[in-house]
């Protein structure tokens, strides 16, 4: 019945694919220099996917080395040339691969690819706006990201190789040209790419904040916003407040690299160079500036996934989200705490133990809002009428990974444990599960759920199920064993473990992990095929609201033009989570509150 109401309300526009805001665009203004938020979102998504494939491929290459340290693969040499002399990846190339994998996945895929895509796509559609506050700045945001991508990509092809000092770019490896081959041109390009990236994410973030605060449709009060929007709002705030600090740190780094200052460099002795003429610099200072961004960054990655999972779970459980205000409050708490915990990355830098204990306390506090969110997701599922769409499965998978990875966060947040586990595979396992794979799952959930709105077609469900189950099982098979390796003291970032007696026991396990990693990577190719095939040949969407969802994006035409709604922007009368209320399966936000409607949700 309510479903009919949705269709009925906008029946007159149902077939009007060309709203009056769609101008006679040329190919260049429609697909390249587009100012339509939906097109920009797709640009972010597809650029992010290209980087995900490249970053994933890098991990396959270094897993090959870790799994088969003694083997020689002649085909590697024909692809990588001198970086794989004799068919084995060189240590220098290994470090470059690890560094680029980290940088690209953290910033280009899970920041730009995730919030760039979904903030752009969902904010105007779900708050009821025609476009962003400044469509022009929004376009610039993408093109800064694109330029950053090109610069980062070009660093892979310079003679001395890309930067190889780890994605955190700690000095002195990042500050000294002579520290390693990757510290030369590769590092210059890395800094330029990152500076461009920061500009891109600032332009995006400013737009998201202004749009959410200023451009909501009539009736869309802040507490009627879907949780996706709240999550994207906090994400943007975190980005706008923390990326400039990284930029400050990098500017000081540029001065140390190129103008002989001594912010981070001191009179250390470097092999082959001799003692430096710098005096009194502190490498720890960079770590403080870096992690002041670095920790909020993990929530910049995680929050959009949390928001989308909340929305997708509620829709597919046919139940209101459990504890909307608690969800919102916990997002807020996480955003505040994000700025107060950075030094837990620095427990082994000689940090004052008293200061360390303060950071332990603040870090462990994050468990409270995180647990609130987990219990609210589980209670949203509880006795719901669950529809196991691929999007929903990825959302449930996200919660599973968030629990598994979050629990080890409580271990690592304790300085007493972290001092032992720091820089071991335990850390690798922790952050890959809780931040990397979990957010990836959030991104997949979002793509599966909103693909019909993006392209007017469905993704293939069977391929979606195969993609989900193999990725979920594979993710656990790759990262679960790493906890044991880390507890046994296996350090991260090492090129070859076969020379240590104590780690020889893991040779077979390493091979197992590498094999699974390759299988999981292959399954992502399956997803890509599904994605691109479905854009052109997928089953067509024929109803406005395929998931029977309450939010505003499903009141637009199946293929909305620039401006989103052909007529007036609809008015909002209720929150977005009226599922299973008063005998109605769902009541869209545009339906006025009835006279006999019950007060409670």
């Amino acid at each position: 019945m309510s479903h009919e109401a949705v269709l009925h309300g906008h029946e007159s526009h149902g077939h009007d694919d060309h709203g009056h805001h769609e101008h006679h665009d040329t190919f260049l203004t429609k697909y390249v220099f587009s100012q339509d938020h939906k097109m920009i979102a797709k640009q972010f998504l597809i650029t992010g996917m290209v980087w995900a494939v490249l970053g994933g491929l890098m991990s396959v290459l270094f897993r090959l080395q870790l799994g088969y340290p003694d083997a020689s693969f002649p085909w590697l040499e024909s692809i990588l040339g001198k970086w794989a002399k004799g068919g084995q990846i060189t240590p220098e190339a290994y470090y470059a691969l690890v560094t680029t994998h980290g940088t690209v996945l953290v910033f280009f895929v899970l920041t730009a690819g995730l919030s760039g895509t979904f903030a752009n796509f969902l904010i105007p559609l779900q708050i009821g706006a025609r476009d962003m506050a400044s469509p022009f700045l929004n376009m610039l945001s993408y093109w800064f990201f694109f330029t950053a991508s090109i610069v980062m990509l070009s660093s892979l092809f310079v003679e001395t190789g890309p930067f190889s000092g780890g994605w955190t770019a700690y000095p002195p490896l990042s500050a000294l040209h002579d520290a390693s081959p990757g510290s030369k041109t590769g590092m210059d390009l890395w800094i330029i790419a990152m500076a461009l990236f920061v500009v891109s994410s600032l332009l995006g973030g400013l737009n998201y904040i202004a749009t959410i605060l200023n451009m909501r449709t009539k009736g869309m009060s802040m507490t009627r916003l879907p949780l996706t929007i709240w999550a994207l709002f906090f994400t943007a705030v975190l980005g706008v407040l923390s990326f400039p600090v990284l930029l400050s740190g990098m500017i000081l780094l540029i001065f140390d690299r190129n103008f002989g200052t001594s912010f981070y460099l001191s009179d250390i002795y470097v092999n082959g160079v001799g003692a430096l003429s710098n005096e009194g610099g502190s490498a720890i200072l960079f770590q403080h500036l870096f992690w002041f961004l670095g920790h909020p960054e993990v929530y910049i990655i995680l929050l959009p996934a949390m928001g989308m999972v909340s929305e997708i779970m509620s829709v597919n459980s046919r139940k209101p989200i459990f504890g909307y205000m608690a969800m919102l409050g916990s997002l807020f708490a996480i955003a505040i705490l994000a700025f107060l915990v950075w030094a837990h990355h620095m427990f082994v830098t000689g940090l004052n133990p008293f200061l360390g204990s303060v950071f332990v306390l603040l870090t462990l506090l994050i468990a409270v809002p995180s647990a609130i969110k987990v219990f609210n997701w589980l209670t949203t599922l509880w006795r719901g009428n669950i529809r196991f769409t691929p999007g929903m499965l990825f959302a449930i998978g996200f919660v599973s990974l968030f629990i598994s990875g979050g629990l080890t966060g409580i271990w690592l947040g304790n300085a007493a444990l972290d001092i032992y586990l720091h820089d071991s595979y335990f850390v690798v396992a922790h952050f890959h599960i809780v931040m990397g794979v979990a957010s990836m799952f959030g991104m997949f959930a979002g793509v599966y759920h909103w693909f019909p709105k993006m392209y007017g077609r469905y993704l293939n469900n069977s391929l979606g199920y195969i993609h989900f189950w193999i990725t979920l099982a594979g993710a656990y098979m790759i990262f679960w064993p790493m906890h044991y390796q880390g507890l046994a003291g296996m350090p991260r970032r090492y090129f070859d473990f076969s020379i240590w007696e104590s780690f020889k026991q893991f040779a077979e396990l390493n091979r197992f992990i590498s094999t699974v990693a390759m299988i999981v990577f292959a399954v992502q190719i399956l997803f890509l095929i599904n994605f691109f095939y479905s854009i052109f040949k997928g089953r067509k969407v024929t109803v406005l609201n395929p998931w029977e969802s309450n939010t505003l994006e499903w009141t637009t035409p199946i293929r909305p033009g620039h401006g989103n709604w052909p007529g007036e922007i609809p008015e909002v009368h209720r929150w977005p989570y009226d599922y299973g209320k008063d005998g109605h399966d769902f009541i869209p936000q545009t339906t006025p509150v009835g006279a006999d409607e019950t007060e409670t949700h």
Binding site: P135, A210, L241, G249, I251, S262, G280, G281
Partner: protein, 193 residues
């Protein structure tokens, strides 16, 4: 296109561009908060050089304070629809901005004349910090000056330039911010540094 799409904004709501600007100012604040925090951390460590700020920085401070007054007058005149005073105050602000920049550069030169290296192997990070922080502020002033020159040119070219006061309002907010930011930095560098 942009203006057409923005028609849905209610009259009593703040213009979205203002919100973009305010959020942007927040991010600039964080940038300098990061730098000045790093300054405090570094100062407490060994090998810190204490030196007096050259007098020319005081003059620059007076100049930028004055320019805040002139741009406020420009906004006032624009709102009253007075063309020529508007043009005058706007151009005067741009000139004061340029003067401020010249004075800052003279400050650097005065430091180097006193044998305080700002960069290079003999530099102390106390001076390098001053240099980096001031240069970054200067770049923000430069952005404002370029915008001021642009809006001034427009005000001379257009017959009636006081109808849409949004650009000059945005510009004045930014300019006041850059002014207050400098006063913070100046107080910080002079008394804390």
């Amino acid at each position: 296109m942009a203006t057409e799409l923005n028609t849905s904004v209610g009259k009593n709501k703040m213009h979205p561009y203002k919100m973009v600007l305010y959020a942007g100012l927040g991010s600039i604040v964080m940038m300098f908060a990061g730098l000045t925090s790093a300054y405090i951390v570094k100062k407490s460590q060994a090998n810190w050089l204490d030196f007096e700020l050259p007098k020319v920085f005081f003059i620059a401070t007076v100049v930028i304070l004055l320019s805040s007054f002139t741009i406020q007058m420009a906004v006032k005149k624009a709102k009253e629809g007075l063309q020529n005073p508007y043009r005058g105050f706007l151009s005067l602000t741009a000139i004061l901005g340029v003067v401020f920049m010249i004075l800052q550069v003279q400050g650097f030169m005065a430091l180097q004349a006193n044998n305080i290296a700002l960069t290079g192997p003999r530099s102390n990070s106390a001076a390098s910090f001053l240099f980096v922080i001031t240069i970054l502020h200067l770049l923000h002033v430069l952005g404002g000056v370029i915008a001021l020159i642009g809006v001034s040119f427009k005000s001379f070219l257009a017959k009636n330039n006081t109808e849409n006061t949004l650009p000059v309002e945005l510009l004045s907010t930014y300019w006041h911010f850059v002014d207050i930011l400098w006063i913070y930095l100046f107080v910080f560098l002079h008394w804390i540094g």
